[in-house]
């Protein structure tokens, strides 16, 4: 028997058949039934951006079922809003998606303004929109570096953290807070832009674009990254919508929908010239690609906003003590992680009667049991990283 494989002669068909048969036998042996195993991932795991626990039932290297277990960070914000005045609520909701905090405040403030029939002046809307987009950039830059780390490429995250500073510094110099700006007020924003800010911001936007180019070469163009991501975690468009996915996760499945373009909003997106990026594939790679393009697009949006910044006041006339008239309103915006909305019910008091907080990551994560079924263990990290969730945004 050993002489059959001693010297490989590719013209010897009998020998080749023998090798093929051996290989087939080996495959059968591998696929023999193996004992099921439960793998506990988290609550502390780099792929979880917080404390998410995933209980995966495995058969060999394959996932039979995966169940995320949340609630480790549930802070009960919906209940707490019922005992806070409207201006106090923004402090709380900053902490929902803590990487894109500024964007969390905006839909709530807009919902309250809608009920009060107050509209912030144009300059305030432009400042809001610019900071909103800078929050998006800071948020997604983290993802662009982090996704590569999940797949074993450590370099990208250092670049991401380095270049993200430029954006965070600009946010900080306006709002005073790097992570939790608490800058929106009902009827406007807290302060005007500091001197020299526009010029510095434009140069930081150039740095972000350089970073995007770098990621395009370093990560997107990387053969290993592509082979780990392409075709992994494919979400068809109709499945995505019935799970309520939003943001880049949905656009990467070919659904051309962006609330910045498609919803009526007092913010300044309608004045800008920009493009909604989509990708037809729906796999992990396309989710990375779409976010990369969106980051670059956002830098151009910020520049346009700063060029077109209107003059005028930054606060509308609002009462000293804010009482919101009875009514209901729902405002949703396209946040870094996806569609985020606040359903505000007021009874004419100082505090909201009920606030339903619709967060993007909650729905984005709800697809994970379906998506992780049948994948191999290393792909769990790829898929979770590509869905990009922030735990505070799931748990609220």
């Amino acid at each position: 028997m050993t002489d059959m494989t001693a010297d490989l002669d590719i013209n010897n068909s009998e020998q080749l058949r023998y090798i093929a048969a051996q290989a087939a036998d080996a495959r059968v042996n591998v696929e023999l039934e193996t004992e099921g195993m439960t793998l506990n991932i988290g609550p502390q795991h780099p792929a979880t951006h917080g404390t998410l626990r995933i209980v995966a039932r495995l058969d060999g290297e394959q996932v039979i079922s995966a169940e995320p277990i949340m609630g480790y960070m549930h802070r009960g914000y919906e209940k707490l809003t019922e005992v806070r005045t409207y201006p106090q609520v923004t402090t709380l909701i900053n902490r929902i998606d803590w990487v894109g905090s500024f964007a969390n405040e905006v839909p709530f403030i807009l919902a309250a303004e809608e009920l009060m029939e107050v509209e912030a002046p144009p300059r305030a809307q432009y400042i809001r929109t610019a900071l909103f987009e800078m929050g998006r950039i800071a948020n997604i830059m983290l993802f662009l570096g982090d996704m590569a780390v999940q797949l074993g490429g450590v370099t990208a995250i250092f670049y991401a953290f380095r270049d993200r500073e430029f954006v965070l510094n600009q946010i900080e110099s306006v709002t005073g807070g790097r992570f939790h700006p608490n800058f929106n007020r009902i009827g406007g924003v807290k302060d005007d832009l500091p001197a020299g800010w526009i010029k510095e911001t434009k140069s930081s936007m150039q740095k972000v674009r350089d970073f995007c180019d770098e990621m395009e070469d370093l990560v997107v163009g990387n053969e290993i990254f592509q082979s780990r991501c392409r075709g992994v975690g494919v979400i068809p468009a109709d499945v995505a919508t019935s799970y309520g996915l939003s943001g880049a996760n949905l656009r990467a499945s070919g659904v051309d929908w962006d609330l910045r373009r498609d919803a009526e909003s007092p913010l300044a997106w309608k004045d800008l010239d920009w493009k909604v990026w989509t990708h037809p594939d729906g796999d992990s790679f396309s989710r990375y690609w779409v976010r990369l393009q969106e980051t670059r697009e956002a830098t151009y949006m910020v520049e346009q906003l700063l060029d077109g910044l209107p003059t005028g006041p930054i606060m509308a006339k609002v009462p000293r003590i804010i009482k919101v008239p009875a009514g209901e309103s729902y405002v949703q915006t396209e946040n870094p992680l996806g569609a985020m909305g606040y359903y505000v019910i007021s009874k004419g008091e100082l505090t909201p009667f009920r606030v339903k907080i619709r967060t993007a990551s909650f729905s984005n994560m709800s697809i994970s049991p379906w998506l992780l079924e049948g994948v191999y263990v290393p792909d769990i990290a790829t898929i979770l990283a590509s869905l990009y969730f922030i735990l505070g945004d799931i748990d609220r």
Partner: protein
């Protein structure tokens, strides 16, 4: 209800699209359709019977193209039974009264929001069309005794987590949900935290400090207290 309907008719002229959607729900659901409310150019609400809950979602998805599930949640319309004691000092200044006052007449009156409501608990869901870019909020009353509603999982698979949240937070039973386990709360947790009669324990143990820890507001200083805000404004006035 007639007042609402009149108001709707006046506004209808300015928003034919949403009017048409509301009308198509009314035609489809018949007696299951109870009320509608339109904010022209902005939003649409309809209220339906709980028995039409699943039908309405299926109709919206299949015939109106509302393919995207936004959220499912519930509202407890009961007024806060703890009166004013959990409010900030600032609130007493505005409303009058003090920490131990309870407005009995208010507590008995239950007011509901747009499209009205007859029961304490109301389910509401929001559906949206990613093609037409239009959404609808659908509300349904659930019975006061043993509140329950049918699951939407056959229509939108993503309903599962939303319904688990409603089930644990409001204690509204979801009929036919295959996986009714707590989502956020620890296993064995008793009570339904989002109900209005579930006390916010932290607030009861440690009273809300109120105005002393918020920033001074312009024009403060009507001399009704000894707060730092008053002192700050007095100093400003003097200068």
């Amino acid at each position: 209800m007639t007042a609402t309907e009149d108001a709707v008719q006046e506004e209808a002229a300015t928003d034919p699209v949403r009017e048409a959607i509301a009308q198509s729900f009314a035609d489809e659901l018949g007696d299951g359709f109870i009320a509608q409310h339109i904010n022209p150019g902005s939003d649409l609400w309809i209220r339906i019977a709980a028995s039409s809950w699943v039908d309405a979602a299926r109709f919206a998805r299949d015939k109106l193209g509302m393919n995207w599930i936004d959220f499912i949640s519930a509202i407890d319309w009961m007024p806060n039974p703890y009166g004013r004691e959990m409010e900030a000092e600032q609130d007493w200044v505005v409303h009058g009264g003090g920490p131990n006052d309870k407005d009995e007449s208010d507590a008995e009156k239950m007011t509901t929001g747009v499209t009205g409501g007859d029961t304490r608990f109301q389910m509401f869901m929001r559906l949206y069309s990613t093609e037409e870019h239009i959404g609808v909020t659908i509300k349904a009353d659930v019975p006061d005794e043993a509140p329950a509603i049918e699951t939407l999982i056959p229509v939108f698979v993503g309903a599962s987590w939303h319904e688990r949240e409603v089930w644990e937070m409001f204690g509204i039973d979801i009929i036919g949900h295959p996986d009714k386990r707590v989502l956020y709360l620890p296993t064995g947790f008793e009570g339904n935290p989002m109900r209005k009669d579930f006390p916010l324990v932290a607030r009861r143990v440690k009273p809300w400090p109120g105005i002393v820890d918020v920033e001074a507001m312009p024009g403060d200083g009507d001399g009704d207290g000894d707060s730092a805000a008053d002192a700050a404004t007095d100093a400003e006035d003097a200068s």
